[in-house]
């Protein structure tokens, strides 16, 4: 459990998944991947953690959000685990295409 900072990088404790926080709700939040809390910079995976592979694997470059819409994670490395926030499974967010400007 920790306060999430926009721009922070989290990595899965049990698969190759890495994400960047694009938007975060205020207060402490519990982000998991593959059923195990994700790790921040310098944090080590707990002993004996195993991947819960029941959900969809993460996809490179996809944005993940919660139902409330106040959390957004961007997947920078794909992996086998699926993302969740305090037990709520995160879903991919549909891209609203912007015209390319440069």
């Amino acid at each position: 459990m920790a306060q999430l900072k926009v721009g922070a990088r989290l990595r899965s404790a049990v698969c190759a998944t890495e994400v960047i926080v694009v938007a975060a709700p205020a207060g402490d939040v519990d982000i998991s991947c593959g059923g195990v809390p994700m790790l921040g910079a310098g944090e080590e995976a707990p002993n004996g953690a195993t991947l819960d592979s029941s959900g969809e694997p993460t996809l490179l470059g996809k944005r993940y959000t919660n139902a409330a819409g106040d959390l957004e994670l961007l997947c920078t490395k794909a992996g086998d685990g699926s993302l969740s926030l305090g037990g709520e499974r995160l879903v991919t967010k549909d891209a609203k295409p912007l015209p390319s400007s440069d």
Binding site: V6, G7, R9, I20, V22, A41, L60, G61, K62, L74, T76, K77, A78, A95, K96, P97, L98, P99, S100, S101, D102
Partner: protein, 515 residues
């Protein structure tokens, strides 16, 4: 966050696609990633604290941009139009640095203290042939990614600071990963030392769009390349678009069949130019982008749909949006404030403030100009309409204060430009004993046409009000512009005050650049 992470994602998502192409030379995303990693090894070994490039658009630019990020040092693209003395002073400010230069400039720069000078060819060849260094990079998002020297009209250039978190936030906020089709290709003709040049590399890499580099802009080459490389996307400054339109119009053949998206920015786009462009290229979607160096490129866009809706509308409140810079990106907030800091409502003119993760607002040695509330004061004047479309009225510093009344030069210029005899116009304030400042209009007349000072004064008096009427109208052959096509009002004013004309100092609608 690090810009190299964006390239790594592209490499693992679509490594075999062509990332960048210059003439017959091309690099796939995997090759670009490998070359950037290898070049980063060279940078680390050199102990340089900055990497600079003094080059037109070449493969050295994207390799250097990502290699600098990977090595954890700032990337500093230098303006190749600067004179030897100006360059030497800038290079002295960024030493110790690793400088990649056009081959013909290497010998002239070889003896600068603290500078390792390498030719573009040598840098690219060595990066391509070396096995990739271990591709690890610092993840401190506060590290400086890019330093851009902005061309001040007075004094030494200032270095705008863009940190990795600004540039990566800009990309995350404005581009969808891998959203380009495999056949998409972006024609890049803005110079690498402009924020749009840097942004075009990052946006295209993250979208998976092939970059086709045009080393130096000419309308003929731009059109030829657009056709032969089946270009789908391009970005130009208004002066470039004018020349492209003239060239297209002259040939009678206007088709750029593959060009789906043409964006423009960097200076005010005259309405007749964009209207003509839309007529000549009916299948192309136009996007107007507004941004500053300190905002990591684009912060508002007028989309292709906005262009079409405005052009087709009989409602003048919709129609006039063709002259706006559109609406804020979803990741950006825009506010208009008055001099006391009060937030203004729709239709009220004031200063533009912006907020968002991509905003740096920082110059080297001067700290960030972002306020405690997170808002950045752009020094641009403007107003929002009821639906959030932003209209720009030029730099706040150019505002004329006449008898306590603030007058935006852009508002007066627009009215004067409606006269069909008028080709170009600059409105400035000069010191005046009675009013504090007096309005002077400097006008360029179309060849073979005439207009009197009285006619211009009368037009302004009728359309606006008498306090907006120029006290004096002067005629000139041309107005001074910087190379991105921005009118240098400060120079117009200085020359008027000095009583001098506008001699050859004018860059007369320079051909390259943006923002």
């Amino acid at each position: 966050m690090n810009t190299m992470m964006l390239l790594e994602m592209a490499e693992s998502g679509f490594g075999s696609r062509v990332a960048v192409q210059n003439g017959p030379d091309r690099l796939t995303y995997s090759e670009l990633f490998g070359a950037a990693s290898a070049a980063a090894g060279k940078l680390r070994a050199s102990n340089a604290q900055k990497m600079a490039v003094l080059d037109v658009n070449s493969l050295a630019v994207p390799i250097g941009l990502f290699a600098s990020g990977c090595a954890g040092i700032p990337f500093v693209p230098l303006n190749y139009r600067l004179t030897g003395d100006e360059l030497e002073r800038l290079i002295a400010r960024i030493a110790p640095c690793y400088l990649v230069a056009e081959p013909e400039r290497v010998s002239g720069l070889a003896d600068l203290p603290g500078t390792t000078v390498v030719s573009r060819e040598e840098f690219v060849a060595s990066a391509r042939s070396a096995g990739p260094d271990s591709a690890e990079w610092p993840m401190d998002a506060e590290d400086i990614a890019v330093l851009l020297f902005t061309s001040g009209t007075t004094g030494e250039p200032k270095a705008a600071v863009l940190r990795h978190r600004h540039l990566v936030s800009y990309i995350f906020g404005s581009v969808e990963f891998g959203s380009a089709d495999e056949t998409d290709a972006a024609l890049v003709s803005v110079p690498p030392y402009h924020v749009a040049g840097v942004a075009s590399i990052l946006s295209s890499v993250y979208a998976g769009r092939r970059i086709v580099q045009l080393p130096a802009f000419s309308p003929g080459e731009w059109i030829d390349l657009a056709r032969s490389e089946r270009i789908t996307n391009a970005m130009v400054v208004p002066t470039m678009l004018v020349r492209i339109i003239d060239a297209l119009d002259g040939t009678g053949s206007t088709a750029l069949a593959d060009l789906r998206a043409l964006s423009y920015g960097g200076a005010r786009m005259p309405l007749p130019v964009i209207e003509k462009a839309m007529t000549l290229m009916p299948n192309t979607g136009f996007t107007n982008a507004y941004g500053l160096t300190e905002t990591s490129s684009t912060i508002t866009v007028l989309s292709p749909d906005d262009h079409r809706a405005a052009a087709a509308s009989d409602d003048w409140t919709v129609r006039r949006r063709l002259g706006s810079v559109g609406r804020a990106l979803p990741s950006i907030e825009v506010e208009i404030r008055d001099e006391d800091g009060t937030v203004l409502g729709p239709g009220e003119r004031g200063e533009i403030f912006v907020r968002g993760e991509q905003i740096s607002g920082e110059y080297l040695g001067a700290g960030s100009r972002i306020g405690a509330d997170g808002w950045f004061q752009t020094r641009d004047g403007g107003w929002l309409d009821a639906d959030g479309y932003l209209f720009i009225e030029g730099r706040i510093d150019d505002v004329i204060v006449r008898g306590g009344e603030n007058i935006s030069p852009g508002e007066v210029e627009e009215v004067i430009l409606e006269d069909e005899a008028v080709a170009d116009c600059a409105v400035v304030g000069v010191p005046d004993e009675q009013w504090g400042e007096a309005i002077v209009a400097v006008v360029v007349v179309h060849e073979g046409r005439t207009v009197t000072p009285e006619e211009i004064q009368e037009r302004v008096r009728q359309r606006l009000r008498s306090s907006r009427m120029p006290a004096r109208v002067e005629f000139r052959d041309e107005l001074p512009y910087n190379e991105t096509g921005k009118l240098l009002r400060r120079k117009v004013r200085a020359d008027l005050v000095a009583g001098a004309g506008f001699a050859a100092a004018s860059a007369a609608g320079g051909v390259a650049g943006a923002r």
